[in-house]
Amino acid sequence: MNMHAADGIHVDDGALLALIDGESAPGAEPRTHVDSCDDCARRMEELRFASRRLAGALESVDTPSPLTEMPDELRDAAAAAVTPIHSAWRRRLRGGRSVAAAAGLILVLAAGAYAVPGSPLRSIVSRSVDALGSLFGGDTVGPIDPGPSAVGVDPVDGAVTVSIEGATDDLRVTIRLVDTSRASVSARGASFVGQPGRLRVTDAAGDMTVELPTAAEGTVEVNGAPVARSTGGAITRLPGADLVPAVIVVETAG
């Protein structure tokens, strides 16, 4: 048993069920074989019968969903989950082109300053941002986005691991391959501990970008669970990506 029709013997149960389910079976041989093999046709009918029996059994234990409409608690949670930051900023910036231009300049400076850990520009930019807040008026100025910090690390023996710790559901990690020699991580408000072959990232929130070098074997872990792996110039999303609280986006194309 469990041999392929191409061997001239029998088709295994998995391939028979794949035929029943319309899943792509390896090659056209199983169907051809079943049509001319009484034993395989019988086993296929057994699986069909078991499948119908299961469907009937499951239907017999079904109860109607009590959630015909979205519960109020869930609706409230959905409404609260909508982040108003962008629209709030747009309203504030609507006040005047000059203020908007100043805001843009300062935010660009902020991004540049914070991209360099330890940069003296950080305090200057922070003060400018605070001053800009007073120009906007209104009750309060929302939290200023300081822009991402970026840190790179070299592979060791052709391998590099990026370990993201303490990730929550506020974090969205985009992982991609790049044609550089170093792995790098860009994130807001994060702390980095780097050593050759390994980069540990903590306290990250918002959008994070992880770039793995195509020439190395790369692994990205979130809260200890491997979520993506790259090897041979290809990157794979691992099942662990669905089990961690953060959103994991693996860019496999391009």
Partner: protein
């Protein structure tokens, strides 16, 4: 992602799946709501939402020992009720027959491993083998074989006279 649209599209299928796993509509409802609450903080592309919801719900069921023990207790209670209901003096034949069918189906499903149940029920919800592989964390090429074995185990559990084709050889 339109959250309300996602809820309307997937809640019924997700509830049916979880309810079949845990045998408790209240608990299934809680799991479904918790899954959607978690979705709120995971703005996914529309085509990834369904699989993600089923993965989360599967893990909520799988990882919660309290849930498992509660399920077993509820099943035991259900079997007791079924035994009482099967008394022809108490209930009409049709109701008694349905109770017996439910009890038999439940008993057969309970004899399957959690993984077998999850795979079979995802298949019943129309998931492709590749999607089942991702949610259950098995190799895609093994899904057909695992499903077929689970089906035969179910058939054998429902009908003890059933001879498993593989075991007979």
């Amino acid at each position: 992602m339109d959250f309300e649209a996602a809820f309307n599209s997937h809640q019924e299928s997700l509830f049916r799946y979880v309810n079949r796993l845990v045998g408790d509509a209240d608990l299934a409802s809680d799991v479904v709501q918790e899954s959607f609450v978690r979705l709120l903080s995971h703005p996914l592309p529309d085509d990834e939402v369904r699989r993600w919801l089923f993965t989360v719900a599967t893990n909520l069921v799988r990882d919660d020992a309290r849930m498992r023990s509660r399920r077993q207790r509820l099943l035991a209670e259900r079997y007791e009720r079924s035994d009482m209901a099967s008394d022809p003096a108490d209930v009409p034949d049709e109701v008694a027959m349905r109770s017996e069918q439910i009890a038999a189906a439940r008993a057969a499903l309970e004899q399957l491993s959690p993984r077998d149940r999850q795979m079979l029920m995802m298949r019943e919800e129309g998931f492709r083998y590749s999607e089942i592989a991702k949610v259950i964390d098995v190799a895609p090429g093994s899904v057909g074989t695992l499903l077929a074995r689970a089906l035969r185990r179910f058939a054998a559990a429902v009908d003890p006279a059933h001879i498993d084709d593989e075991e007979s050889e």
